[in-house]
């Protein structure tokens, strides 16, 4: 076992930091404050990601055939850590890089790959994810949006909700019922251009910033059959594969760590850090961040070795949630006034992201259930 970074890893990290120092504007914290799905941050990512691409720092882990560099898993992960520490300036585009692109490469037709992948590699593609519905959240398989075959087309009707990035996205990675299959076996994936007639997007005012979440209505939205990704009924196995990628190694604790450091600096400046109670709570928040870091590293290590990551990914997510909350609690307990006004945009941005961590991409309770079943081998429950 070896918990040290190699010289190569350190040099790579230094190169990314250098790049970020040069390319992130001085008002980046203020931009990032608007939240990952906001117009401000999306427009920024469309300036920033092409520069990342130019520097070979957008998809280094992708195969060369598709514009990547075939770089190792840990290197891709270091890139993620540094970008998260900086407040994730890729915005929506982290999704393309982490899972939509790789999913297209594996399951897409030649035409779909040629059409969509080059834009992602160039850092110019914004997608949204049409999964949740008003009556299908954690129980995603009960979704009702329907794609009815009509000659060479599908006609889509239904409502999606909590859709991040919907207002700015060009394409939606949409789940809908198609064909005769029931439950999980009756779902297909469609790549739907958001400019198609019949799509209406409404922003939902929310605690997590303006323009971040939306309701998306599909009324007689007509797409060609070639917009389907995979076969009818295949969606569940495809997204399981994709989300297994999405859920491995998201280094959110790195943002929490940076914000915790800033909170301590602020307390020191105010002369409030000599209080042993404050110190103990700061140590406790730091420990929560490091616990999350180690559990995430474990999943990355497994991925790097080609192992299938199961309940380990759920444990990492649970620990990441606890770290996010520990840092938010620390700030709100000892620096309550820093959450008023605009003097600490990074604290606000962290807080707004932290309140979503336990809900997005599979609620914490779903993760705990997976750990119980697959790590502790407990019998399936009646819920």
């Amino acid at each position: 076992m070896d918990f040290d970074w190699t010289e190569e890893d350190r040099a790579y990290r230094a190169r990314i930091r250098e790049f970020l120092k040069k390319e992130l504007p001085s008002d980046w914290d203020e931009i990032s404050r608007h939240g990952p799905g906001s117009r401000e941050q999306t427009e920024f990512s469309l300036q920033f990601c092409p520069k990342l691409a130019e520097a070979g720092l957008l998809v280094p882990h992708w195969p060369q055939e598709w514009g990547g560099g075939d770089r190792p898993t840990w290197e891709h992960f270091i890139l993620g850590e540094e970008l998260w520490a900086a407040g994730e300036p890729r915005g929506a585009q982290y999704m393309n890089v982490n899972w939509i692109g790789p999913t297209l490469m594996r399951f897409g037709t030649e035409e779909q790959k040629r059409r969509f992948i080059p834009e992602m590699v160039a850092g110019k593609a914004i997608w949204c994810q049409g999964f949740s519905e008003p009556n299908a959240g954690s129980d995603l398989a009960s979704l009702r949006t329907r794609a009815e075959r009509d000659g060479d087309d599908y006609v889509i009707n239904g409502t999606k909700i909590w859709t991040s990035y919907a207002a700015m996205a060009e394409h939606c990675f949409l789940l809908a019922r198609a064909g005769a299959g029931q439950g999980k076996a009756g779902i297909a994936i469609f790549i739907v251009p958001m400019s198609t007639p019949g799509i209406e997007v409404r922003s939902i005012p929310s605690l997590i910033g303006h323009g971040d979440i939306h309701e998306t209505f599909f009324t007689d939205v007509r797409v060609p059959a070639a917009a389907r990704l995979g076969e009818e009924g295949e969606a569940w196995s495809i997204i399981n594969y994709s989300l297994a990628n999405e859920r491995v190694g998201i280094p959110r604790y790195e943002l929490s760590t940076r914000v915790l450091n800033d909170m301590v600096s602020e307390l020191k400046q105010r002369g409030d850090f000599s209080d042993p109670v404050v110190q103990a709570r700061a140590g406790s928040a730091a420990a929560a961040c490091e616990a999350a870091r180690m559990l995430v590293y474990r999943t990355v290590d497994m991925k790097a070795r080609g192992d299938i990551v199961g309940a380990e990914a759920s444990m990492a997510r649970v620990a990441v949630i606890e770290a996010d909350h520990a840092v938010t609690d620390f700030g709100m307990e000892f620096l309550p006034d820093a959450f008023n006004g605009r003097s600490h945009p990074a604290f606000l941005a962290h807080h707004e992201r932290a309140i979503v961590t336990g809900i997005a991409a599979g609620a914490a309770e779903i993760q705990l259930g997976l750990i119980a079943r697959h790590w502790l081998d407990l019998p399936k429950g009646v819920h």
Partner: protein, 305 residues
């Protein structure tokens, strides 16, 4: 970054696992229903194997020593491995073991003292060592699942040529490994109980209220384990205090939950759950407990910030 063992470590750990399956390491019902069990036979086997010196083997190192301490603590019997595996090889190789550790100058009962042949004192400005002479120790009746004892007479203390801070940091790693292992052993025994035990026509472990709390406990135990191994390798005093403080904090809720899910069976002396949980309760207070260890993390980490 490589979180899996190298070939030598893998071989070492699989040999250790085999030894842990042996008769002398097993949980035995005893007619007196003691609060703890100490196996002279297992202690001798462990010493004679030379495993306890792995920390100074180049290809094994302190990570293997921490991993061994963790695994041995998952046994229901009490094993003196933490001090022997993590402190003795590097700082006090010529002292006979079992080795007891005195953490502070306060007179209090010390774990392993009744079976120990030497003792280290970590509380002062320099680390002191002493051999335990015959009749120097009195056993103390205790809730904690260790052989506990006090010194009856003054020992012949000698200073140890070692940096006290380095010894204390390493001791934190040792305690963290032992605590994480005790929690892991306790968790495994409760998980197997809730798989088997049926109420309302279903296994207890199928109830979501129980599943979620055990899953939360498992997450904290895994995090404690990885933080400990990392601290073992880095030798960094902040990593060490963080690993111990985190495990101590986690143990509070985990221990209560585990007893809760074992029901009345967990109150009996004939079920071994208490052997792990009462060890965890004592380890939780080591080096002044979670709050103080986490405060140490903050003070050291942000000294210059």
């Amino acid at each position: 970054m490589r979180l899996h063992p190298n070939d030598d470590q893998a071989m070492f750990l699989s040999a250790l696992d085999q030894m842990m399956q042996g008769k002398s390491a097993a949980w035995r019902t005893s007619p007196q229903w003691d609060r703890y069990e100490w196996s002279d036979a297992f202690d001798r086997e462990l010493e004679e194997s030379g495993f306890l010196d792995c920390a100074i083997e180049e290809t094994l190192g302190p990570v293997a020593a921490a991993e061994m301490t963790f695994r041995l603590a998952t046994l229901p019997i009490a094993v003196e491995a933490a001090a022997s595996a993590l402190l003795r090889p590097k700082f006090a190789a010529d002292l006979p073991r079992p080795l007891a550790i005195i953490e502070s100058d306060h007179a209090q009962a010390i774990r392993f003292l009744p079976v120990a042949r030497s003792v280290l004192s970590l509380g002062g400005d320099s680390i002191m060592s002493a051999l335990i002479e015959p009749h120097a120790v009195a056993s103390v009746e205790s809730l904690y699942a260790f052989p506990m004892g006090v010194l009856k007479k003054a020992l012949d203390w000698r200073p140890l040529n070692a940096d006290p801070e380095a010894v204390r940091a390493q001791w934190r790693v040792a305690l963290a490994a032992e605590l994480a292992g005790a929690l892991k052993g306790a968790l495994a025994s409760v998980v197997s109980h809730v798989r088997e035990r049926h109420q309302f026509g279903r296994p207890l472990g199928s109830f979501q209220a129980i599943q979620h709390r055990l899953a939360g406990a498992a997450t904290k135990v895994e995090a404690s384990y990885w933080l400990t191994l990392k601290a073992a390798q880095s030798g960094d005093s902040i990593d060490a205090a963080l690993a111990l403080g985190y495990a101590q904090d986690a143990s509070t809720k985990v221990v209560y939950d585990l007893h809760q899910f074992m029901g009345a069976m967990g109150l009996t002396l004939e079920h071994p759950l208490h052997r792990w949980t009462y060890r965890a309760r004592l380890l939780r207070s080591s080096l002044r407990g979670s709050i103080n260890n986490l405060r140490t993390v903050a003070v050291e980490r942000w000294r210059a910030a």
